[in-house]
């Protein structure tokens, strides 16, 4: 799978021109490869240029199409008059293309300015004037080949699509994930295969497994328990089956819905993912207290805001009289004086809420790079971080996540913000890795919880994951883009993001694609956390504080 990630994300093609296109058109557009031999065209969000053309041809096509976008030549009002009139569209392009290029001239790279034909451009001073010229009987030369084409129907469709999406989000549910229908057999996940027998078998197994806590066998033990959710009063469903055998569908209308970023179409799919908080299934046995074995507390102690005077410092604002006298006495007595004779004001009051997201998808059950599974390493790191932050007086919560399709993204609250550490170890041990990871939805839900219940002005989201974002309809390229987008959203809302990969052998390049510019680090053992955690926290908090307007 990693190889696939590497080969499919590498944007060596025309996609690389996206930034240039955005700069020229003054809006976010993407560049996509068009059909071979086809003239360049745009639907308003993407510009299609021939991937097999020379760099010069691609640039010329881009210059024309982006200038059209930038100068308002492709607004629906104008374009509507060009549908089903190919000749008129070509005439319009010939006039308007030069006008748009001329209007955009101050932005074009110098080498592309030769494209502009000032004589033609002078014919028209607005899209409407160009349109009038195109619809008249005036003789107009055909546009040069590199001008590409205007596809009125596609332009209108995409602008109407955007409108409709705002009005009625349900309509965009399409293509994949058709197995959401509810009763469709789920071949991937049920141990007894699909069909009635499989479901019956599952139900039986489920009840037996349910025994350990709640009631006698065969009693009125419910197969699904509901708990009134604190988020907006929604009910949260609990399936007591093991993590690895989640089932798609059947829980429509519950949980919290989140949008998802569709990188291919460059738009959000509204209410696309459903996230449920699922209570952890406790395993029996004593719960040893969790400690902070890696000495993280020291590294994390600096991230508060309040000030406090501290005595006997090497540097400081004031002289610490007691220490100074002692030092003087020591000098008089011929001993080496202690130079720490100042009072310094240091930050001490804690003002930080941290939410940790722990990836418990199937991929973390694989052996890590240095023995033990990735899950074991990540779990140890999560426990150490939780304990260290809790001891420091920070608000901390730990949620584990995995998913099976977009309607079943499950977050397991291992420790909520207001829980104490008592059951942390037991709950952590009960986590069983399985299923997939829809990273974006988990991040969005984590951020929502953090914002709602964190209660401090400094907020930090920590994602512990192997960086393999993968689920049904969530292939690596798409998933990486969505996760990156979700992290950017979180940062924009003022929380810091920090991504940690512990023990996984994931390629650094892949991690960077998933985590983007968020602070992230990969360490092979939890013991190494201590070295990276301080700078990472600092970077993550700063990224939240320093946001672009």
């Amino acid at each position: 799978m990693r190889d696939r990630v590497r080969t499919t994300v590498a944007g060596d093609g025309v996609e690389r021109l996206g930034l240039l296109a955005s700069a020229l058109s003054g809006r976010a557009v993407q560049v996509a490869p068009g059909e071979p031999g086809e003239p360049a065209w745009t639907d308003g969000r993407r510009i299609f240029v021939a991937a097999d053309g020379s760099a010069r041809e691609q640039l010329e096509a881009l210059a024309v199409q982006t200038s059209l976008l930038a100068s308002g030549s492709l607004e629906p009002d104008v374009v509507r008059k060009l549908t089903r009139r190919r000749a008129a569209a070509r005439r319009y392009l010939a006039v308007e293309g030069h006008r748009a290029l001329a209007a955009n001239e101050h932005l074009l790279p110098p080498s592309l300015r030769s494209l502009i034909d000032c004589d033609v451009a002078a014919h028209s001073d607005s899209p409407a004037a160009s349109l009038a010229a195109a619809l008249s009987r005036e003789a107009i030369a055909d546009p040069p080949d590199h001008f590409g084409a205007i596809r009125a129907r596609h332009l209108l469709a995409s602008s109407e699509h955007a409108l409709r999406r705002q009005r009625d989000p349900v309509l965009v549910e399409l293509e994949e994930d058709e197995n959401d229908a509810g009763t469709t057999a789920d071949f991937f996940s049920s141990p007894g295969g699909g069909g009635a027998f499989g479901r019956l078998l599952q139900r039986m197994l489920r009840m037996v497994r349910h025994l350990d806590g709640s009631g006698p066998p065969g009693g009125d033990a419910p197969t699904h328990r509901t708990r009134s959710g604190t988020r907006g009063g929604r009910n949260v469903a609990l399936s007591t089956r093991l993590a690895g055998i989640l089932e798609d569908g059947g829980i429509e209308g519950r949980g919290t819905k989140y949008p998802e970023w569709d990188v291919h179409r460059q738009l959000y799919r509204q209410d696309w993912c459903t996230v449920q908080e699922v209570e952890p299934r406790l395993v029996a046995g004593s719960s040893p207290s969790v400690s902070d074995p890696y000495g993280l507390r020291r590294s994390l102690a600096r991230f508060g805001t309040g000030l406090d005077a501290r005595h006997r410092q090497v540097h400081g604002d004031d002289i610490d009289i007691d220490a100074a006298v002692e030092a003087r006495v020591a000098v008089m007595a011929g001993a080496a004086p202690d130079e720490a004779v100042y009072v310094d004001s240091v930050r001490r009051r804690r003002d930080l809420a941290v939410l940790l997201l722990l990836d418990i998808s199937g991929s973390v059950a694989e052996p890590g790079a240095t023995g033990g599974t990735v899950h074991e390493h990540q779990r140890a790191a999560a426990a150490a971080l939780t304990v260290a932050l809790h001891d420091l007086g920070d608000r901390v919560a730990l949620y584990a996540f995995h998913s099976q399709g977009r309607s079943a993204v499950h977050l397991v609250p291992v420790k909520r913000f207001d829980d104490d550490l008592g059951s942390l170890a037991g709950r952590l041990r009960s986590l069983v890795p399985g299923a997939y990871s829809r990273l974006g939805a988990a991040i969005r839900h984590g951020a929502a919880v953090l914002e709602e219940r964190g209660g401090t002005s400094r907020r930090l989201l920590v994602v512990l994951s192997d960086g393999l974002a993968y689920d049904h309809g969530y292939e690596p390229v798409y998933g990486a883009a969505d996760a990156r987008r979700a992290l950017a959203e979180v940062r924009r809302r003022g929380a810091g993001c920090l991504c940690l990969s512990v023990g996984a052998g994931t390629d650094a390049e892949v991690l960077r694609r998933v985590f983007g510019s968020a602070a992230h680090a990969a360490v092979s053992r939890p013991e190494q956390l201590r070295q990276v955690i301080g700078p990472l926290f600092r970077a993550a908090l700063r990224s939240a504080e320093v946001r672009r307007r």
Partner: protein, 273 residues
């Protein structure tokens, strides 16, 4: 003390600054009236250079303090140090400026802790006094003292913002990137390159500034363009220079970098192909 970048500068020639609006008039009027000034604008647009030029014009020494988030009041005002068995008071940069009647320039003042900026209040309003608690002393600012702070409002910050009580004591001068012809002149002068090369760099910089949602936190500033220009002056090709000074400086993200490289190729590699 080593943490503070304090420097007093008196120069032989006027630092190169091209006025684009009425900022010089506003500054000099504020200086004569003893008002404090806040300079607002994105990083690398010429705020510091402006202060240097003004200090030269007004014939005052300039003391610059680069603020950081551990800057304490003592760092600005001064502190007692131990020398042998004696305590010795050492003036901080602000106290020195108050005594000497210098222009004190606090760069990126938002970075400083809020309890630190409060010390500026009596200095910034009509009192023009600096109380030094530790000495039991209140200093009146010498004639010619002027407090100037800079502030980058583009960095919208959850935690850091200038207090209203601080801002209202100041006269604000807004800065932006200069219009293209002026910026071309600046880049050509500062980097020592010919006007055409400078114009190409500026055009490229302005294209980057048009990007909105691109994963760039900051756009290409005049400073960055000048850095690229100086590399060109050393004989690098415009493309190489822009890769090193602009693309590398703006982002670490590989996809954004490759997009920027495409832009560089389009804007700066043009004449050679």
């Amino acid at each position: 003390m080593s943490r503070i970048g304090a420097a007093s500068a008196t120069r032989a020639s006027r630092p190169y600054y091209v006025s684009v609006g009425n900022e010089e008039h506003v500054f000099k009027a504020a200086f004569r009236q003893g008002l404090s000034v806040v300079l607002k604008g994105p990083t690398g647009c010429g705020k510091t250079r402006f202060v240097e030029a003004m200090a030269y014009d007004l014939g005052r020494p300039l003391i610059t303090v680069a603020c950081h988030d551990d800057l304490t009041t003592a760092d600005l005002v001064g502190r007692f140090l131990l020398r042998g068995g004696e305590t010795e008071w050492v003036d901080g940069p602000l106290t020195r400026a108050v005594r000497e009647g210098a222009i004190c320039y606090l760069d990126e003042v938002v970075e400083a802790r809020q309890d630190t900026t409060v010390v500026l209040h009596p200095l910034a309003d009509h009192r023009r006094q600096l109380p030094i608690e530790r000495l039991g002393l209140t200093l009146d600012a010498a004639p010619g003292f002027c407090l100037v702070v800079s502030y980058n409002p583009g960095y919208q910050s959850v935690l850091k913002d200038l207090k209203d009580s601080t801002r209202q004591r100041m006269v604000a001068i807004e800065f932006g990137f200069s219009p293209a012809p002026v910026e071309e002149k600046i880049v050509a002068h500062e980097a020592g390159i010919d006007p055409d090369a400078a114009a190409a760099l500026v055009r490229f910089g302005q294209a980057i500034r048009r990007l909105d949602t691109s994963g760039l936190r900051e756009v290409a500033s005049t400073r960055v363009l000048i850095a690229a220009g100086r590399l060109i002056a050393e004989g690098l090709s415009p493309g190489e220079a822009a890769r090193a000074a602009v693309a590398g400086a703006l982002t670490d993200d590989p996809t954004v970098t490759s997009g920027l490289v495409e832009m560089i190729d389009a804007y700066l590699a043009g004449p050679s192909t």
